[in-house]
């Protein structure tokens, strides 16, 4: 019995292994028959397990079929990388079927990152020398699709050989495109292909011609020398194009009555590159371009594709003016075409040619504006870009009116760019100040919260700088009207930029708001403007702004400041009401509001005599335009230039000095950054890491942020090692400290210390030094192990190692914009002498993509009588993420 069973099981095993695996179409059928995703997964997993086992057994008979199945499974989104090596084995097989599937698999499963490339390179090299044209073709196709730089270098010679010696068009055209991909990957390899390429242009075969032209285009784009070399070929190209147009019907290359549009378009594109900035070449192609532009059939998409390319060429080269007019007219016709695709192309092209032929494009203004109403987002986006490109001082009022209509219904993604561009355009072309102010207020109202932060600042600045009482009065009414009319008023949180500007303006010019509205033109829609009562304004502030937790803190701070200012503009009765409101806000849960409210409350009590003087109108600000984007300056600091980093401060920049206006405005500065500094470790020998701390005592809060840049510029220019000096000695781990306590940061660097890190080796926390200046020792603790992508909690320890008490300590952190920062309130704001401590928790969440965390630190405090601000940076967090 035993023997019999053994024999039976043995036979079973043999028949099983001889059984052919499931066929590809059976697998596809099974997968398609699966009713649920789970069923499908089960089928796929079973088959994958089977395929894996055959791969392990190295079963070469069915390898091809199994890889094909795997490719299908891969397309469904399942992992299939375990088939990579099998593809290579197939490629190495002598059978064509194997090679065909193997190369297909290689193209799908490998990309240029894979390290199996060396193996592919060898197989490719063999196959490029194969006597069978189709094997060579497969190899060239694969090379073009997955070539890495190394592969390109190894195989460029083979490709060049085929290009030069082969007489087979099938192989030649593929070699030309393989060369094109190789040059794209490794531009240095271009040189070797030039001679072979030139001769390709005299071939008759369209496949060779089109690929050769693509190759030439790539070469000319990469090198000016090659460009001028191929300028000699312009007559030849013109001849090819002419033959295409004039030769009669050729069934092989005809598309809807147009002779080889693919080739025509590529020639036109190459002519564009060759004729750009070259009068002689441009002249040589003038006639043929005119012919293409007039003779091409426009009933079908093919014809329009050629015309489109021809117009681009006409506009880009030094063509005759008559030809350019013809070009713009073609685009004008495109714009009226019923086919959306053609209209889209017209808008794109007009946008590209608007610089060259401004007036000609202007003629189509109305049609373009109409496209803003198109239901198709692609067309709207193009039309919007073009509209802004067309705005000038003559049409600004018309265009703005249309754009405001567009803004009223625009999606958020458009609202932001549209409002931003409207502000820029208005700044450049506003006919009058009043129009400018009015338009900006309208845009602000329509765009809601989809407004860049800097716009609020620049609008306030614009208002402040206009210095006309009638305009102030107009603006304050208009803003009040827009804000108070938000319906329902609880929606104010959707209009925060408007509220911010309105608050500021009402705060400054509240007295003008109350004056009778007679003989004042308020503009459209404001005719029924009702006289405003003090109680209305205060009521609105109390009900919707000051205590509205849906508003962000910045908006509420604007409202608070505004109220404080109104206390000297409104009557005594109202002032009492304001005082009550501010008092109740001084217990706000938001520490910055609380602090500010407390300070304002103090103005009512202890320093009541100073209040009127302190709360006078601000002096008019100096206008800085958004267009010029000058670096913001200390006192006004309104124009934040929006780079990629935002200063995220949990606290308003409050230094306890009660000068609220400047502080509030400081908040707006926000945008500047120095995150992209190159490490300067090489210039300072002792520096071991790129942790840099630059501190700078400076009494001017606003300045400090920007002085940081100046400091670094100063350090840059130092080439000699800096001698350590006696000034504040810091005990810091491998960090470079440059401390500077004079007013001129550019010239003096007083301390440079490099010592060992006091690392606690057993604790799970890592400690790094953050700042060490002026007797203040600040370190940060963070967990040694944080999972990638997880929020990390820093504990900031501030320690006073000096003998003088330090008060009003305010520690601020900025991180790159992609990170999220949360700062919890500190344990106190006073550091007693001799090891007084403050702790503060800072939480940072990283973005999805792996980005290095950097921090910019700012510390302000009062030591003795002197207020000081220190700055620092931490650029390395060892072991984090």
């Amino acid at each position: 019995m035993d023997i019999q069973q053994t024999i039976l099981s043995g036979v079973n095993r043999i028949t099983q292994s001889m059984q052919s695996p499931m066929r590809l179409r059976d697998l596809i059928r099974q997968i398609r028959a699966a009713r649920t995703a789970a069923d499908e997964r089960a089928v796929v997993q079973k088959e994958c397990a089977y395929i894996r086992s055959t791969f392990r057994e190295d079963d070469s008979l069915w390898r091809c079929r199994n890889v094909a199945k795997l490719l299908y499974i891969h397309m469904l989104g399942y992992p299939a990388h375990f088939g990579q090596l099998e593809c290579l084995k197939l490629i190495a097989s002598p059978r064509f079927t194997d090679k065909r599937i193997g190369y297909l698999g290689a193209m799908l499963l490998l990309d240029e990152r894979q390290d199996v490339h060396l193996l592919v390179t060898n197989s490719l090299k063999n196959d490029l020398n194969s006597p069978t044209q189709f094997v060579v073709g497969l190899a060239l196709c694969t090379l073009a699709s997955i070539c890495s730089p190394e592969m390109s270098r190894d195989l460029a010679g083979e490709v060049e050989r085929i290009l030069k010696t082969s007489s087979n068009p099938y192989v030649k055209k593929k070699a030309a495109l393989a060369a094109f991909r190789i040059i794209r990957r490794v531009p240095e390899l271009m040189e070797m292909f030039i001679p072979a390429t030139r001769s390709l242009l005299s071939e008759k075969n369209h496949g060779i011609l089109i690929t050769a032209i693509v190759l030439v285009h790539e070469m000319c784009e990469r090198s000016p020398d090659t460009l001028s070399y191929f300028r000699k070929s312009v007559p030849q190209l013109v001849r090819i194009l002419k033959n295409l147009i004039l030769s009669g019907y050729s069934p092989e290359h005809d598309v809807c009555g147009v002779s080889d549009p693919f080739l025509q378009v590529k020639i036109l594109r190459l002519l564009r590159l060759l004729g750009r900035n070259d009068v002689e070449c441009s002249e040589a192609m003038n006639d043929i371009l005119a012919q293409v532009a007039t003779n091409t059939e426009t009933a079908k998409n093919v014809g329009n594709a050629i015309l489109y390319e021809a117009v681009l060429t006409i506009m880009d080269i030094k063509s005759e003016s008559g030809l350019r007019v013809l070009g713009v007219n073609i685009l004008g016709r495109f714009l009226l075409n019923t086919d959306k695709n053609i209209r889209y192309v017209a808008l794109t092209t007009l946008y590209r040619t608007v610089q060259a032929d401004y007036q000609a494009v202007q003629r189509h203004k109305n049609t373009i504006v109409d496209c803003l109403k198109d239901p198709d987002v692609s067309i709207r986006r193009r039309a919007l870009d073009l509209c802004f490109a067309l705005i000038n001082s003559q049409n600004i009022e018309f265009m703005t009116r249309e754009l405001l209509v567009f803004l009223a219904t625009a999606e958020p993604e458009f609202a932001q760019s549209c409002s931003c561009n409207l502000f820029l355009a208005a700044e450049a072309y506003a006919p009058t100040k009043r129009w400018h102010v009015e338009t900006m207020i309208k845009a602000l109202t329509l765009a809601g919260n989809h407004v860049n932060d800097d716009i609020v600042g620049s609008l306030i600045q614009l208002l402040s700088a206009c210095q006309e009482n009638s305009l102030y009065a107009f603006a304050v009414r208009r803003l009040w009207w827009e804000m108070s009319r938000i319906d329902p008023p609880s929606e104010v949180s959707a209009y925060q930029p408007l509220c911010q500007v309105a608050c500021w303006t009402i705060g400054e010019f509240g007295d003008l708001l109350l004056q009778s509205a007679e003989n004042m033109e308020l503009g459209e829609g404001l005719k029924d403007f009702q006289p405003v009562k003090e109680s209305d304004v205060i009521g609105f502030f109390e009900q919707w702004l000051l205590f509205n937790t849906q508003l962000n803190v910045a908006t509420r701070s604007y409202a608070l400041l505004s109220m404080e200012k109104l206390s000297v503009r409104f009557s005594q009765e109202s002032t009492n009401r304001i005082k009550c409101a501010i008092d109740s806000l001084s217990s706000s849960v938001h520490i910055e509001l609380q602090q500010r409210a407390s300070e304002f409350a103090a103005l009512f009590s202890r320093h009541d005599t100073l209040r009127p003087a302190l709360l006078e109108r601000m002096p008019p600000m100096e206008v800085k335009t958004l267009i010029k984007a000058q670096p913001p300056q200390a006192q006004e600091g309104l124009v934040g230039n929006h780079k990629q980093v935002e200063i995220t401060t949990a606290n308003l920049n409050n230094n306890g000095d009660g000068v609220g206006v400047d502080n509030l405005l400081d908040l707006l500065v926000g945008g500047d950054d120095v995150i992209d500094m190159p490490p300067r470790a090489t210039q300072v020998p002792q520096a071991a890491t790129d942790n840099k701390i630059i501190s700078n005592s400076n009494n001017n809060t606003g300045d400090a942020l920007f002085d940081l840049l100046g400091d670094l510029a100063g350090i840059d220019s130092l080439s000699t090692p800096v001698p350590p000096s006696s000034a504040p000695v810091a005990f810091l781990g491998d960090s470079l400290i440059i401390s500077d306590d004079t007013q001129n940061p550019k010239n003096s660097i007083s301390a440079l210390v490099n010592s060992a890190t006091p690392k606690s080796s057993t604790a799970p926390m890592q400690t790094i030094p953050a700042m060490d200046v002026d007797g203040l020792h600040i370190t940060m603790d963070y967990p040694q192990k944080v999972p990638v992508g997880q929020q990390v909690t820093f504990v900031v320890h501030m320690k006073n190692v000096g003998g003088v008490s330090i008060s009003d300590v305010l520690f601020q952190v900025a991180v790159p914009k992609s990170f999220q920062l949360e700062m919890l309130p500190p344990s106190g704001n006073t550091l007693q002498p001799n090891l007084g401590r403050i702790e503060q928790i800072v939480k940072v969440s990283p973005p999805a993509s792996q980005t290095k965390l950097r921090m910019r630190l700012r510390l302000s405090y009062t030591k003795g009588e002197e207020k000081t601000v220190q700055q620092g940076e931490v650029n390395a967090f060892p072991g984090l993420w």
Binding site: D111, F134, F180, H206, G207, P261, E309
Partner: protein, 152 residues
Amino acid sequence: MQFMLLFSRQGKLRLQKWYTAHPDKTKKKITRELVTTILTRKPKMCSFLEWRDLKVVYKRYASLYFCCAIEQTDNELLTLEIIHRYVELLDKYFGSVCELDIIFNFEKAYFILDELLLGGEVQETSKKTVLKAIAAQDLLQEDEQVEQGIQD
């Protein structure tokens, strides 16, 4: 051209051809996002889409969407012609092609595409030449199968 995708009205991927290297994860993400964006567009809208920094050209043929991502300087209208040419080739090869042909013979669809485009550029503008090359290669395969007596 950066890549070409074929997907069904249900959003199922039927063919993908990448001419630039991306990790698998990125490819999946791009595919998913593009498929959803395109499927939500209405039939009357234009065939072009600006998506991230890519220009996407798509066209629907029966139940299949053909979608190409092209460079900023490429001709959108001509890309539509390339898509159309590919559809014509499939049609000729399979004889009035339908989605099922492409599902069950996806490798053939790839082979045809590889004879039309190479490295993302058109390599052959003659339909006849492309079909002849495919037929010759199929014949080569058949000969081998007869030789080895394997039915696949």
